[in-house]
Amino acid sequence: MTIDTPTLTRGFVARNWARKHLFRTPLDALLTVVFGGLSLYLIYRAFLFVFVNARWEIISSNLKLLMIGRWPNDHVLRVALAIAVLALWGGLIGGLIAGRQRAAGLSVAAGMSISQRVSDLVRRFGLMIATIVLLLLLTDTAGPWLMAIGAGAAGFAGYWMGRAVGARTLGKWMTRLGMLVLAAVPIVVYWYMVSAHPLGEWEGFLFNMTAATAGIILCFPLGVLLALGRRSKLPLLKWMSIAYIEFVRGSPLFVLLLLANVSLEFFVPASLAPSKPIRAVVTFTLFTAAYLAEIVRGGLQSVPRGQEEAAKSLGLSPTKQMFLIVLPQALRNVIPAQIGQFISLFKDTTLAGAALGILDLLAGAEAITSQPDFVGQGLIIESLVFVAFLFWVGSFTMSRESQRLEKRLGVGVR
């Protein structure tokens, strides 16, 4: 006689899992019922909202405004081109790093098969790609699609090229020329964009992203100097650094932005007349430098003292000790914290909208609810959900990449 064992065991397993994870004790069972019920209700309402009730036209008809503000329509092509060039550039740099790792035998990706590689990439960037596709679906022209595909292709091309080049070692002058070109690309792109539409009028999500990137890059020199000053045994330097760091870290960014809005122009010669985005970026830079200083200080502490001693005993001057040996290791050790600071700054760029009246993504989302087509219909919720979603995807993806990087760096090479 045959017994129908397979189905029996399957049913058994599911019941076991439920018993263990949902109903282990009476309290457990109560929690499951209460929170489970609550969650199901919330999911149902959310579903209804997103797919049935919500009027998403407010977003789809204002997509350009939300993304790049009131950029002149004849120059929108510049934006597309800039994005493609930056994708190529980013891919190149990523490829160069991957190539260098391959040459040293440190590459993790090299050990994976094609299908493993693809599934790994999907897991990491799938959410971001899905969001981009969603945004594209909200548009009604072919333009954005072409731009997205172009940028994607450029990124890939850049990566393959970079990896091929990174695996080889080039002559001294070639390397120097290459690095000069790489450093120049973002500056050229920036100039290209600004000549079409002055920086003072950059708006939308473009503003949030540019302000965050500019802030984190520009704050580096000051941040590193402050960290070195704080660690210094020379009393004057130490106390000046501590004073700056503690004052800035104790101040709310919102208040600093309000202050900068009304008074930054007074601190510089009248001819400069900084525009609002400049005031915002200057404040972000000075603010983030203090936080970066603490991060770099942690990094400096994490470098074993023996490194400094070895450099000293080889005869290197104190400056060379710091910049060739200690600082590179310090910065590398705190890459996750630096990424965390960037994510923080990225989210804080929304404050510029409220404090300086810049029409960034959030301010724009609030403003469009007053348009004649949409006024008084309570569409603020759709608007805010969209904004929250965009920020969430960006922030979540970056955090996850940072965690992955942390795991990779921490594991070591041997």
């Binding site: 040293a104 035998g105 001294k172 070895a310 005993s313 080889l314």
Partner: protein, 259 residues
């Protein structure tokens, strides 16, 4: 190593010929704690001096004062005739003329092996890259690991890393090599390869001051053995004299504990 037929002075302050290192009445304090008391020591050219003693006796502090990793508080230290003082120029020159090998290797993890070795010659002595790399490969051959040139330090074993560290110090063509317990952090099976490298160096005529617990090395290679305890030099002698016929009670106590 000097010619073993020459009598070696038992007194630390006498040497044959040139004294490369001279320490005169050197004191060192860490706050209230006296780490070194009235150190008098002369080391001759091509001499191998091994310093032994219990932990906390000041052995490491002594050699770290020689290249100014620690600042001595009293007395004089001269390296190849140059006085070690607050003079920046002197300090830099002394550091160029001395090489140090650390217990924890202290290789620079973000640079490849060959970059570790060529860094100082290129930055400090302004050697051109090709020349520096040729020198580096030559030194890697000498320490018998030329194939590791492009690897990163963390990819090597402990013994290999220490040999790279030795090559790195040798790249600056120092007059004196200082060793601070070079094998203490190694697994036993790798101690031999590093000691062999050091023996080769001694045979080639390098002036060496070695702080170590390896008594076999001391017996085989040292010209003089210096015993330190509680921050002072207690006894000095040739290896034979030292291990067979120690004079001081403290020395006898220490030897009985470790041999």
């Amino acid at each position: 190593m000097t010619d073993s037929n020459q009598t070696v002075f038992a007194d630390a302050t006498q040497v044959h010929g040139d004294a490369v290192i001279e320490m005169d009445h050197v004191d060192k304090l860490f706050g209230a704690f006296q780490a070194l008391t009235d150190i008098n020591l002369k080391v001759a050219r091509q001499e191998v001096v091994v310093i032994i003693g219990p932990s906390g006796s000041g052995k490491s502090t002594l050699i770290r004062c020689i290249n100014r990793l620690e600042e001595h508080d009293a007395g004089r230290i001269l390296v190849d005739g140059i006085e070690l003082s607050e003079d920046v120029k002197n300090i830099q020159e002394i550091r160029r003329e001395t090489g140090m090998v650390f217990q924890s290797f202290n290789l620079f993890p973000h640079l490849t092996v060959i970059d570790n070795i060529t860094l100082a010659p290129r930055q400090v002595r302004r050697m051109p890259k090709k020349e520096a790399e040729a020198l580096a490969m030559e030194l890697l051959e000498r320490v018998r690991i030329p194939e590791q040139a492009k690897k990163y330090p963390l990819q090597l074993s402990g013994g290999q890393q220490q040999r790279v560290a030795i090559a790195r110090s040798l790249a600056m063509k120092p007059k004196v090599m200082l060793f601070d317990e070079p094998t203490s952090a190694l697994d036993p099976e790798m101690v031999g390869e590093v000691l062999d490298t050091m023996k080769d160096l001694a045979r080639e005529g390098m002036t060496m001051i070695v702080v170590t617990h390896e008594m076999g090395f001391a017996r085989e290679v040292a010209d003089r053995v210096v015993f330190m305890a509680d921050g002072q030099i207690v006894e000095v002698g040739t290896p034979d004299h030292f291990f067979q016929n120690p004079q001081e009670d403290r020395t006898k106590l220490f030897l009985s504990q470790i041999l």
